[in-house]
Amino acid sequence: MRCDVPCPVRACWVAGMRTRRNRSAVAGECGPKRMLYRPDGVAIEYQEKPMTKMNAAENSGDRILTLDQLEVGCCGTIENVAARNGCGQFLAEMGLTNGARVTVSGTAPLGDPIEVSVRGYRLSLRRSEASTIRVLPSPAQGLAT
């Protein structure tokens, strides 16, 4: 099982929480439709869509970062995990679920992998997996934007 290197695709909730204003843009995109389940169990259709400049801008506007962008010592709350190929399931089982707080506690000498602390224990994972995890940085930690 492996996760792909981060691909320029991101999940957009068609009906759902975050990017409602994008709906029209999404509807026009091609790509397979999938079912996702929100934590409350409601099924949501979602569609893959290439990352565009606009999305990126919108990201920083919401201050949503991916876990690998978080600096050492910073913490945040997981917004969603878009890992693919079974990796997502494992990350969820290890406690990296929506709403969980993660702190980046260090990086390995070569810069990769990173060490995070989640649910009271330490986990190391590569930046490529970390980049599938979107987090809302905690303002208390004073993240430089």
Binding site: M1, R2, C3, R34, M35, L36, Y37, R38, P39, G41, V42, A43, V81, R84, N85, G86, C87, G88, Q89, F90, L91, A92, E93, M94, G95, T97, N98, A100, S105, G106, A108, P109, L110, G111, D112, P113, E115, R119, G120, Y121, R122, L123, S124, L125, R126, S128, E129
Partner: protein
């Protein structure tokens, strides 16, 4: 007729203390260490004082969707998916109390198995020290299963656990399972549940859980560790259900279920568990900062290796000399005087004592090596090495976890090859298996020591430096070979790396010495069996046929030259002469294919039998140092020494390794391949060293 014994399985997250508890409960001494993935196979034992209870220690897992072979063993045992075996009758679920949330995740799945269950909150000492509080009675009420707090390493709470085990009901139970599934999954679950029941993969009590597990698309992937054996029809049926409900590799419903489980755990713990108000950064964090630091981390690793090798060379020397004196002087002397002259005394003195005795001399060194490795394993450093090395290993095409078996290979390749079961991908696992024997194991240590001390004189820095170079050579070669394998025959994507980093613990001396002893005992056993046998064979080859007295008068070394061994040696000689070796070394090399230490035994026998004048004062080291070619040149020049050591670094001279590779890979192809590539590599490298050295004028 007595009732069949109750079968109780110990299961929990990796590194939660299952084996420590198992050892407490059964009195066995299975391997315990502070990193995830120590136990990779099932072990069985009888509960102390209760003959009717069989306990199983299982490999740790994070969930019932296994990601590697060892975890698959655990899942299949728990669900009764092993052929010819029924499910266990009851469960002891071990939870690391210092890491409750994640450990309870597996517990939520295990409780759904419908078996009588005891939940053990182990590491209660860590919890206390942090100042956190866990209300076990409250937790027990919420889980619907008895909860016992224990400290497996000190034995606290074990008695209570035993009495709870006695009182455990024998019938299947239904634990309250508030875990609802999302509505959309209900249909899929019902369909799969039907299939599971029809195929006997589960009974009524655990069918829902089994069905949930089969919601994961990976169970249909043949190469995946979570693969479930199904007939073609059933697999197709399951695939159709998945398709109907839009379940595919990128979208496993178990992810949603995992989130629900964590939400549920949050509710369980709310009120039952209170975290200490202030969290002071513990020693673990500070040590971690140092040991994973860009500069200090590498320096620390090199420092540890240097310290270990210095210890092996200097600290062990007095002990080693003592044993040497005791065996080779005293014992040999006593045997010779008691038995008197004759063939029996020759066999005992020149065969058994010279062979086995000279190997046993290295016992203190082996112990020091094993003690260091045990201390490293128990401190929590192993996982950090994997973490630090991952950057390098990913360039090779593996991940950091592969480095843990490679590091344990410094002790012995056999358990290291078993330990590769924790590596998820089949190709990565094979690659690791094939390169692990290149790491210098304890059997090479005596060979290095004897050569280095015979050839490189008294300078301790030089000796340790050369030794380190040999370890480095093995490691670098292993990485290069892995790189080549991953680019060619075992091509595959670079795997993901997600590894738990355990907290540092001060290694406890008692268990470390125990683990050192259980490993070094193997060394003594080997000396008493294979090396003894080889020594006798080698002695006989060197002793017969006897040269006539007149011949012996005529010149030294005649007996040896005209013996069977000498004749064999002359056949080998042309092959090894380009490497700079004489025929005696050649015989040593050839006999080392039984086990590397036999090289020492061969040298002992060769120089024992070869001594016409019975001056028993010289140690083997001195004899090796003064060995001469017929024309009077020294045999062991520094160049020959290096060439010989390089051969030992790279050659695959270990029957047990070949046997275990056969067992773990399931066919003879891989062990044959491994043997061939390593031996060819050894020969070529040794040739390059010797001939290159000669060209440079080093001979």
């Amino acid at each position: 007729m007595a009732a069949p014994p109750r079968r109780i399985a110990l299961i929990g997250n990796p590194n939660s203390g299952k084996t420590t508890l198992f050892n407490r409960l059964t009195g066995q001494r299975r391997k315990v260490a502070n990193y995830a993935g120590v136990t990779v196979d099932r072990s069985e034992g009888t509960l102390r004082g209760r003959n009717g209870v069989r306990l199983f220690d299982l490999p740790g897992c994070y969930s019932l969707t296994p990601r590697s072979l060892d975890q698959r063993i655990a899942r299949d045992t728990l669900l009764g998916w092993n052929r010819d075996e029924v499910r266990p009758d009851a469960l002891v679920v071990i939870i690391d109390a210092s890491n409750l949330e994640r450990n309870l995740f597996l517990a939520t799945q295990l409780l759904e198995l419908g078996l009588p269950t005891v939940v053990v909150c182990n590491m209660a000492d860590v919890l206390r020290k942090r100042g956190d509080r866990l209300d076990t009675a409250e937790l027990s009420a919420r889980l619907g299963a008895p909860v016992v707090a224990t400290v497996a390493s000190s034995g606290e709470g074990i008695d209570e656990l035993c009495s709870v085990l006695d009182a455990l009901p024998s019938a299947a139970v239904c634990h309250s399972s508030p875990l609802g599934v999302p509505e959309e999954l209900n249909d899929a679950l019902a369909d799969i549940r039907e299939l599971v029941m029809e195929q006997g993969l589960a009974n009524a009590s655990n069918a829902t859980l089994a069905a949930k597990l089969l919601l994961s698309p990976s169970v249909l992937v043949k190469d995946d560790a979570s693969h479930v054996e199904l007939s073609d029809d059933d697999a197709e049926r399951l695939r159709a259900i998945h398709r109907r409900h839009h379940i595919d590799a990128d979208n496993s419903p178990l992810t949603v279920l995992a989130e629900r489980r964590y939400a549920w755990i949050g509710q369980w713990l709310d009120g039952a568990f209170t975290r200490a108000e202030v969290h002071v950064p513990g020693a673990s964090e500070r040590i971690d900062g140092l040991l994973t630091h860009r500069v200090w981390g590498v320096a620390a690793f090199a420092g540890v290796m240097f310290l270990m090798l210095t210890a092996i060379f200097s600290w062990a020397t007095p002990l080693m000399d003592g044993i040497d004196w005791l065996i080779n002087q005293k014992l040999a002397g006593i045997v010779a005087t008691v038995i008197g002259q004759g063939i029996l005394s020759d066999l005992l003195v020149d065969g058994v004592i010279a062979g086995v005795g000279n190997v046993v001399v290295f016992f203190p060194q082996i112990c020091i090596l094993f003690l260091f490795i045990s201390l490293l394993e128990d401190s929590g450093y192993m996982a950090r090495v994997a973490y630090v090395m991952d950057g390098l290993m990913s360039r090779v095409g593996l991940h950091g976890k592969s480095f843990i078996p490679m590091l344990s290979s410094f002790a012995c390749a056999v358990p290291a090859i078993m330990a590769t079961r924790t590596i998820e991908d089949r190709r990565d696992r094979l690659t690791t298996i094939l390169v692990a024997p290149l790491m210098s194991c304890s059997a090479r240590l005596p060979v290095y020591i004897i050569i280095i001390s015979a050839v490189f004189g008294a300078n301790p820095w030089l000796k340790v430096g050369i030794m380190m170079a040999m370890y480095l050579l093995g490691t670098v070669t292993a990485l290069l070979v892995a790189l080549v394998l991953k680019r060619t025959i075992l091509k595959g994507p670079t795997p993901t790396f997600i590894l738990e980093l355990p907290p540092y613990r001060l290694p406890r001396l008692g268990p470390s010495i125990q683990s050192m002893w259980s490993r070094s005992r193997v060394f003594l056993t080997e000396a008493g069996t294979i090396i003894l046998a080889m020594s006798v064979v080698l002695w006989a080859l060197a002793y017969f046929p006897r040269a006539s007295a007149a011949d012996i008068e005529a010149g030294s070394g005649v007996q040896l030259r005209q013996s069977y061994m000498g004749r064999i040696g002359r056949v080998i000689e042309p092959v090894i002469e380009p490497l700079g070796f004489d025929w005696k070394i050649g015989v040593g090399l050839a006999s080392s294919f039984a086990a590397r230490e036999v090289f020492i035994a061969t040298m002992g026998v060769v120089y024992g039998v070869g001594d016409e004048v019975d001056e028993k004062s010289a140690t083997l080291r001195e004899e090796v140092a003064s060995a001469k070619w017929p024309d009077g040149r020294k045999v062991f020049t520094p160049l020959v020494g290096v060439s010989l050591m390089v051969f030992y670094v790279l050659a695959c001279q270990c029957m047990s390794t070949i046997a275990v590779v056969r067992k773990e890979t399931g066919n003879w192809g891989w062990p044959v391949f491994m043997f061939t590539y390593m031996t060819v590599l050894a020969y070529v490298a040794s040739l390059v060293v010797y001939q290159g050295g000669r060209l440079l004028g080093l001979a």
